[in-house]
């Protein structure tokens, strides 16, 4: 009985469809991660500024993405904006925008935290040595901050990959949606199909996220000394 479901995976192009779904998941997640890292580092550095205006503006941005659930952002940009303004974006573009903005907000907080956690004498010593501001960041602050950033950054990346599951709600056909399509077509004939398909989807996510999490732990251990 249990093995009747697994055959469905190899029927027609089912396996290929699941992997293509995974590709959509990864494409959205990876592009968003790259944009987030670049924007996050810039915004993170800007946020160490002493200016109250800059601090409040970016704090507002970060809190907007922390407080409002990602699902709501997706709905607002996918359904509400086109209904009221003449701006029609495809589901994947909407996903990229929301995930990049969210990732950049979270990433900026990580970068800011890492920079301000550096002892004050690092800045003071660089200044005493006569380094310009850009030199100070380039040679002193960023290399040290990077060490402190990497573990939480990898944590954020795995969170972003997993959160792409929400994209089914705006009609992006990613790996979970493909799984549901296969389950609904086959569950009268194979009652255990959902176990196999969801099990396989679990396995796919695991294969992607587990190495990342191991990598992060390894780096942490290496730099702890």
């Amino acid at each position: 009985m249990l093995n009747s479901g697994i055959s469905v995976l190899f029927e027609g192009v089912n396996l290929e469809r699941l992997l293509l779904g995974l590709l959509v998941t990864l494409r959205v997640a990876l592009i968003a991660v790259v944009i987030s890292i670049v924007m996050g580092i810039l915004i993170g550095i800007i946020r160490t500024s002493k200016s109250k205006l800059v601090q409040i503006l970016f704090k507002l941005y970060l809190e907007l993405f922390r407080i409002i659930p990602i699902l709501v952002w997706l709905f607002v940009i996918y359904y509400v904006i086109p209904a009221n303004f003449d701006l029609n974006l495809s589901a994947e573009v909407v996903a990229l925008i929301v995930f990049s903005l969210w990732g950049a907000a979270e990433m900026s907080d990580i970068v800011r935290g890492a920079i301000i956690s550096l002892p004050k004498h690092q800045t003071e010593s660089s200044k005493a040595l006569g380094l310009s501001v850009s030199q100070m960041y380039r040679y002193v602050l960023i290399p040290q901050a990077t060490k402190r950033c990497i573990p939480p950054m990898i944590n954020l990346i795995t969170r972003m990959i997993k959160t792409t599951a929400l994209l089914t709600m705006i009609g992006v056909v990613e790996v979970i949606k493909v799984g549901q399509q296969i389950i609904e077509v086959n569950n009268l004939e194979h009652p255990t199909i959902s176990f196999w398909i969801y099990g396989f989807v679990f396995f796919l996510y695991f294969v992607i996220c587990f190495p990342l999490s191991r990598f992060s732990r390894k780096l942490e251990r290496k730099w702890a000394t």
Binding site: G12, R17, Y79, P82, F85, G171, V173, E184, V185
Partner: protein, 286 residues
């Protein structure tokens, strides 16, 4: 600090006002272009954008080869063939039940063909064309003690699923019948198999499919209460496309298109014992 907050608020208000003003003029532009021709816009694009289900067999699903299939999809293909001359010129937008209204409102699709039941609340938000299917409450019972009329249910136990139209119908119209309620359809069906009730009431289309898989049972009472219709829907105010759909649906009705679509897609899962006339509407309310 206070000064800054005031400035920020002022700036925000200005942006919002500007945005609202902008959207007004854009809306006007949009409606005027729609008024000239919604159908020309589709022809220019070369594809008909249709919202269908991807996980609700036999109405709309994706088969093992990744192709869209089902009763709704057969109609979508025919619409594309008659409008654009090629049945492959359909862009399927896969949808969820709760997204159907928003897809039309935000102009993501031209037509929704996703088992969309006509209700007064939905009619306020979208425009429905002529129906192509109907659903009513049905009662499924074991062949050994078949229930053919509501009178036979008196003094017996009837299984229903909570929150369904069947539950509301029996509570309102036949309070004398004892109901046994379950949260999920799966539980209700299991309860019926265990004979914890004498029969079960649900949407008839759902029961037909189930009874076909369970030959000891049959839908002896196939239609009760008010009929609900299932119809294509378009964006509110898109009268040109709506009128085209209505003429098209009536023409398809003339050639008994929906009976053929029933035989192709629904019959295999509903079984031989169901008459197409219980389910199909030929493009015109009866």
């Amino acid at each position: 600090m206070k000064k800054f907050l005031v400035l920020l608020l002022a700036a925000l208000t200005a942006v919002i006002l500007a945005a609202c003003g902008g959207s007004d003029s854009e809306e006007k532009a949009e409606t005027s272009s729609e008024a000239t021709s919604a159908i020309d816009a589709i022809k220019e694009r070369g594809t008909l954008r249709v919202a269908v289900f991807s996980d609700k067999p036999p109405f709309g699903y994706v088969d093992a080869n990744g192709e869209n299939q089902g009763y709704d999809v057969v109609l979508a293909k025919r619409l594309a063939k008659d409008l654009l001359g090629d049945e492959s010129k359909v862009e399927y937008v896969l949808t969820e039940a709760q997204a159907r209204v928003d897809l039309l409102k935000s102009d993501k699709v031209d037509v929704v063909l996703a088992n969309f039941t006509v209700t007064p609340e939905r009619q306020e938000q979208v425009d429905f064309a002529n129906p192509y299917m109907k659903v009513a409450i049905g009662v499924v019972s074991p062949n050994s003690a078949s229930i053919e009329s509501v009178d036979q249910l008196k003094g017996k136990k009837l299984i229903v699923t909570k929150g369904t139209t069947a539950e509301t119908y029996f509570m309102k119209n036949h309070p004398e019948i004892e109901l046994v309620k379950y949260d999920q359809n799966t539980e209700s069906f299991e309860a019926l198999k265990d004979r914890r009730g004498d029969a079960m009431a649900q949407d008839n289309a759902l029961l037909f499919g189930w009874a076909n898989e369970n030959p000891d049972f049959s839908v002896a009472l196939s239609s009760l209460g008010d009929l609900d219709y299932i119809a294509p829907a378009v964006k509110k105010g898109n009268t040109e496309l709506l009128e085209w759909l209505n003429t098209e649906l009536e023409a398809l009705g003339q050639e008994q298109f929906f009976h053929k679509a029933y035989d192709e897609t629904l019959k295999p899962s509903f079984g031989e014992n169901i008459s197409a006339d219980d389910v199909v509407v030929e493009g015109k309310a009866e």
